[in-house]
Every structure is written in structure tokens, then in C-alpha cells.
């Protein structure tokens, strides 16, 4: 069992990402992995392939995730590596996994600090990747109370019947997941020192990954956008509730 996590901090966004190679097809720039857009992709020309970033100084990370990919289809293995000298003498493997599906991929590892971070892909074929992130996870301080619903969805579409009443089919435009996240009685210090900086820097304007249970359902990662409203009603003492809306499109 794990408390919910938010993944937004990204070393690959700290500086320009250098790819070992990029497919010559249109629109496969390496920068696409760090734009938090599920519809832009990086694709290497071949594997093994790497994405490397120079953060300028040592910066910590304790997770890596990949969202929107075909690593399983391409038979790839992913490695997360850190280095102090751009992988000349220093090259530390921090985590590795061979995906068993094309679902979102999350790798958690002990926090480490490096100036150079790298994702390395080996396998049979060159994969495509929409979002890649290596950074520090943000664990929410409380469990999510009722009526939080991690699965419920709203289908936007139409069911058709013929003149004789027989169903002809259901046509779906998309399915959306919308939930209000409510963190009850969290400390003002966490809100002011951890959550608000993250909210102002990223969460209020840019998509991020929300994971409601990384231990039991590590692939249940939702690429979400936050609603316009953030509420922090105060309790007497030094706690408050934090509530905000999240919305995602469900595949």
C-alpha cells in the first residue's frame, strides 16, 4: 500500500536533452519527451539509444517514468543511469526494467544525485516515447478518502437503436476521468513548503502524472491536468485541507 504520488519534477526538463540518435521521420525530436505532451514523440534511429541531460550540477532523482511508448512491442529494456563525468568513467545503473506491456512505466529507486542523467534503451527495435521523466517524486501526505474513485469514468458518446428497438451499437467519442482530490488535515508546512511551490511551478499549468497507488497498481498512471481552483480551508491549529480537481482522458 502506498500513498498517492505526483510526478512532475523532471531532470530531462532541466536542460536540452541529447539523444544518441533520432529517427529521420518528421517530428521525432528528443525535446518531445520533456514537453509533457502525449502526442509528441521521440524515436531513435536505432537501439541501443540514449537520452542524456547535463543538469549543470548534481541534482537528485528517485524515479523514472515513461508514458506513451511501445517499448514492449519493440522488445526493449530500459535503464536509468547517473554519472558525474558524462559517462566517461562514472556510469551508475540505478534501475532497469523490461516492460511486459505498453502501459505507462514507473521505476522507483533510492534517491541519488548526479550531474548527468541518462535513460538507455536496448532491445530489438527502435521504440517511440511520448513522455519521459526522471526526477523526485512527490508523495502526498495522506490517503485519499471517500468518495475518491480511481476507476470511474464518464463516457461521451451515443447509443444507437434501430426502428425496431434493436441496439445497433455504441459510438464513443472519448472517456474521461474526473476526480476531486482532497487531502485532509495536512500540515501547513507541507502545503507551503512542498505543495504550493510545485503547484505554482508546474501543476497549475502543465500536465503531470498522478498515481493513486504505486505499490499495487504501478501502471495506473494518469496524465492529468489540474482544475482552475485550489482550496486550502484552514483548521484551527496548523493544518488544513487541500482540494483540487484532476482530469484525464482514459484510453
Amino acid at each position: 500500500m502506498a500513498k498517492p504520488h505526483i510526478f512532475y519534477d523532471n531532470r530531462l526538463g532541466d536542460a536540452a536533452v541529447a539523444a544518441s540518435s533520432t529517427d529521420s521521420g518528421a517530428g521525432y525530436a528528443a525535446a518531445n519527451v520533456a514537453d509533457w505532451r502525449a502526442y509528441t514523440f521521440w524515436k531513435p534511429a536505432s537501439v541501443p539509444a540514449t537520452l542524456t541531460v547535463n543538469c549543470g550540477s548534481a541534482v537528485a532523482a528517485d524515479y523514472a517514468l515513461i508514458y506513451g511508448h511501445n517499448l514492449f512491442t519493440q522488445g526493449c529494456t530500459v535503464e536509468v543511469r547517473g554519472s558525474t563525468d558524462n559517462f566517461v568513467a562514472s556510469d551508475v545503473l540505478l534501475a532497469t526494467v523490461t516492460p511486459t506491456s505498453n502501459l505507462p512505466l514507473l521505476l522507483l529507486f533510492n534517491s541519488a544525485s548526479y550531474r548527468y542523467w541518462r535513460l538507455r534503451f536496448t532491445g530489438a527495435g527502435a521504440p517511440y516515447i511520448a513522455i519521459a521523466s526522471v526526477g523526485r517524486r512527490m508523495e502526498l501526505p495522506t490517503w485519499l478518502p471517500q468518495p475518491f474513485d480511481p476507476i470511474g469514468r464518464q463516457v461521451v458518446g451515443q447509443s444507437n437503436r434501430n426502428e425496431q428497438g434493436h441496439p445497433l451499437g455504441r459510438v464513443i467519442q472519448f472517456k474521461s476521468w474526473k476526480e476531486k482530490i482532497k487531502l485532509e488535515r495536512v500540515t501547513w508546512s507541507w502545503v507551503r513548503d512542498t505543495f504550493i511551490p510545485a503547484h505554482d511551478a508546474h501543476l497549475c499549468s502543465t500536465p503531470f502524472i498522478f498515481a493513486w497507488e504505486v505499490d499495487l497498481y504501478p501502471t495506473d498512471l494518469k496524465l492529468v491536468i489540474a482544475g482552475d481552483k485550489l482550496d486550502t480551508p484552514h483548521y484551527s491549529g496548523s493544518t488544513c485541507d487541500v482540494s483540487f480537481d484532476l482530469e484525464a482522458v482514459v484510453a
Partner: protein, 657 residues
Amino acid sequence: MTARETAQARHERVIALVLELDIDRCTNTYGSAPCTAAAGAGNECYNTFATCQDKANFTKGTVTKKFCSRGVVVPGETVRPYVSGNAAVTPTEIVPSKGLAMRSQTQIKLLDEPCPDHLEDPYSATRAPPAQGTFWARLLARNTNLVGRVARVRQGYVVSPWDWATFQTQLFIIESVRGPDENGAVTLVLSDVLKIADRNVLPAATDGALTADLQAITNSGTAQAGGASTITLATAASAVDSAYNTQEVYIASGSGVGQRRVISGYVGATRVATVSVAWAVQPDNTSVYQVSPLSLNVGTDKGAQYADPATSGKPEYVRVGDEILRYTAKSGDVLSWTDGTYRAQFGTTAADHDAGDNVQLCRAWLAKRPWEVLRDILTEAGIDAGYLDLTNWEAEDTSWFNGGEITACISEPEKASGLFSELLQDLNAIAWYDPVEQLIKMLANQPAIGTTSLGLDADQFMANSVKVESLDAERITQAALYYNLRSATDNSSEAKNYLAAAINIDLDAQSSSEYADTRPYTRKSRWLGADNRIFARQAVARRVARLRNAPVKIPFKVDPRDEVRLGELRDVRTRNLADVDGSPKVITCRIVKLKDAGTHFEATALSAGYARIRYGVIAPNGYPDYGSATDAQRAYAFICNTGTNLMGNGDRGYYIV
């Protein structure tokens, strides 16, 4: 089944709309040959014409930008989910009475966002400051010529793995770009290819004007004498030397009658004209002659507006006043013709024209098949021939337009779509743009012969979507067609200007036992001439046969799995249209309107048969007698019994229409 049909057959289908825009993009690399721009790193263009720094070497290619509806992710492809809601579609509607279908229009709203520029700016890596603004603000600033470019609307189904084969692609032209609105969103207005014909005229307007008087006859009279290569004109002829050089002298009667020669020299004092080719029969003092000009000048630098018959591949004509002249050569600003017979074309009369009179280019067809004329109108209006379904046009022409070829002249600029529509109506034909096949289709508006159509009934109709509307206003009891316009410059809307008419009257329909009214339909055709007599008679008979009973219009909706196609014939069976015993009646209809609403198809069917008439192409050689023929064979026409007009077993006989 195709991948699309398989996807449609599923009970649950996730739909997707993808919009593709083909945007101009220079294929050069900045600063590399042939590009000579040299503003240096950080100051490059954006490989678009609007930002080009070496326009002389701009090499136009295209780049395709893709956008999709919300919730859709195309694996491994940059397809921006900017499409807001559903496309607002005004679909094509085939209106038989108008010939040319109503042009479709599709509006798609596309959302905006601030986004990195590396996918749009080929030189983003060298520019110092990061790009400002949002996707659309930047794209519109860099691409100022989106109108007229190609857009594709692809509608299909999301399956795993992703399969573009489930998508149907409709091709349109970008008509306009509206916005950005207050939220940065833009709305693209897409139109079908036929819209191009709405914008252009045929023939092109020309503003050349006569630099000198142009007379029908410069001089005429009775010759004083003739020689082997000379003729002495009447004493009233000009006393100025060379006055008639390059003009034609024609012997209208007397010795040498019928001969035409070009005057190569003229002595005013003696009135002796020397001709360039010796006479076959010398004129003498019995010869009545006419001298007339063989060229005109349209004014300095105006000649370029006029087609050159040496290169245009077709006869060329101009209109001056109410006269149409054919010219056979162009040299600079001078249009010339071979001899005097090239004056007064298309029923017009040779006349005197004054200096300054406008010389308008004409568009004429001489003995061309109707499908060729239709083709020429659209291609000369700027529509690429690749959009025309010419193979089927020609086949349709062979089947239905066999009553002669077309000889006609359009002597002043008119909207091309209007001309196209007018000829279609004269031919009893319909045309529309099929965005799926990406072709302009043309059919005679006649029932199918010798084929069967797919059915469409309560199993397919969505609940509460079918209604039946009788179009009584379109019913007629008689049809008249005026044709063979006396002169191509006469007013074509006045019946008195036509030399022939064909009329068909259904007396039964007009009788007191039936409709007890008279519903005349009158049409005047400047396209059909004396050679089209048989076709004119067929046209009125077929029109009465088709419209003697009110057509029936049936709007309906179907699920995507029961997709129909625009223009196709379907045998429609609905409880709302019953036979005399109350059972649903089957009527053959053409799908005249179709809209893909994503969740379903909205369509309109229009009855497409001949009323009360049994018709068919004459049965092929080798068919058995009617009594032994199968139902399929009986779709063809057999000879009925003399006198009774019935078949041997009592079935109704066939009509020739």
C-alpha cells in the same frame, strides 16, 4: 470485410477525427544552394514564403500538420489534439433540378496552446530567445497563404493496434481561416473542390479594344476589269495607295464568283488591286466584289489576354458588339483570320464596329461530346483534371447523351459553376463532389438500368429518424425544351430567339381523373443546337416520365455500421410509405445528402425512378423470349404485343423514353 467495416461492425466503437493540413514549406536549407539568404545563424527564415529571404529561389514543397479530436492519441505520430467538438458540416446536397449539387462546407474549430517551437521552426536550435506566442499565432504569422491549400478530414475508429485503414479520408480545399478568437482558437472553413468553379469565370474577361474601325465590308461594287492576278475596283473605291492591302476581295457574283483572294498591293490612282494568288477564273466587268478586313488590333500590349489558336489546341473566337469572329492567328496585338467566312460566327451578323469597341474573348466548342464540354468548363475554371471522374463521365455520356454533339459559344464572362450547372440541367444530369473518392461525379439523372440496388429498411434506420416528404411542387405534366439559339449573342432567356422546340405532354396526368391540372416545365438551352434534335426529344420525355408524379424525399439516420454513400441508389423500404395493401413499399432512391455526424450518418434519399413506366435497355442478343426470361433478364426491355402494349403473359409493356 475491410478494416473499416470490421471496426464499424463492433458493438462499441471509439470514433476519431483527424484533420490534416498541407502547408507550403520550402524544401531548401537556409543558406545552402540554391538558397542564397545569408542573414546568419539566429536570423534564418522559417522555410515559408512569408518569411523567405530569397524568394527567387523559394522551392515550394508541403508539410502536413495533423490535428485530432480530444482523447485521441495516434501512437508514434505528432497529432495535436486541438479539434474542438465535432466538425460543423453543411453537407453536399444533390438537387436534381439544379444539376450541380450544393457545395459542402465544413468548419472545424482548433484550439490553441503555448508550445515549444522545435517541431515548427527548422532552425529553432540556433535562435537565441525561445519562441514567443502560441501555436496558431506563430503558424498564421509564418504562413499567410493557407487559403486554397488542401485539407483532409479523416474520420474513423480507434482500434488496437492503431489502423489508418479504419479511416475514411475526405479531401477539401481551405476556403478561409477565421480567428484567432479571444482564446486563440481558429476556425478553418473547408469547402469542396467545386467551390473553385464558383470563384472563376469563363471565358476570361478581356479589355482589348479596336484600335481602328472594323467594317463588315470595306468596299464593294462591280469591278471595272480583271487580270490574271488583279482586279480593278469600282471608281468609288479608295484613292489611297495600299488602302486595302492584307484585306480580302471576294467575288460575290459574275465572272469568278466564289473566289476569295488576299490583296497584296493596291494603287489608288488606278483602283487596281493585286492579289497574292492568281485567279482561277479571272474577274471582269461583270464581277461584283466585296473587300473586307482580315485582322483587327486589340491595342498595345493587350494581345497577351487572348488565346493563341496555334497553341491553345482549340478554335478561338472574339466578340465585338453583337458579332462573333473566329481568329486563326495571333501576332502581338493583332488577331487575324483566314478569310471572310470567319466573320459572323454562331448565327451572328457581320457588322461595322467602331474604334474603341471592346474585343471580348469567347469560349466555343465545335462538335464536342457533352462530357468534354463539362470537363473543359471545370478544368478551365481551375479545377485539376485529377478531380474529375472522367472515365465514368464518358460512360454516362455514352449511355444517356447520345443525341448529338455540342456546338456552342459563350461570348461573355460568366461564372464557371453557373455554366456547368446550366449544361447539366439541359442534359438532365447531376454532378457533385464526393470528398471520399475525391472526385467530381456526374450522372444522368435517370434510373439505373439492368442493375439492382442494396436495400435499406427498418433494420438499418435508426429509431424515429425516418420521415417521408412528397415534393409536389416539383411535379410536372408537360415539358418543353427550346433549343438551337438563333445567334450566340441573342438573349438566351427569350423563347423567340430559338429556332426549335421539343415538347412532351402527359395527357393522362392532366386529365380530370388524375391530377386535373397543368404543370408545365419550360427550359431554354443555348447549349443544344440543331444537331441535338433527338436528344431534345428524349430529354423532355424523360423529364415528364421522371416527374409526372411528385418525387419523394426521405431523410433518415443510420448507425455507422450501415454506412451509405452519397449518390448511390438504394431500395428504400419504410412503413411510412405503404403500398395499397398497407405493406411497406420499396422505392429506388438516390442518396442525395449525407453527413457523417461521427456517432451516426444523417442522409436524405430521393426517389429516382420513372413513374408508372416500365423501362429498360433493349435486351441483348441471345436472350430468350419474355415468357422464358428470368426476372434479372426482364430488367431489359422486350417487345410487347402489337395493339395491347402488354407482354404475352399480361405484364405491362416497356416504354421507350
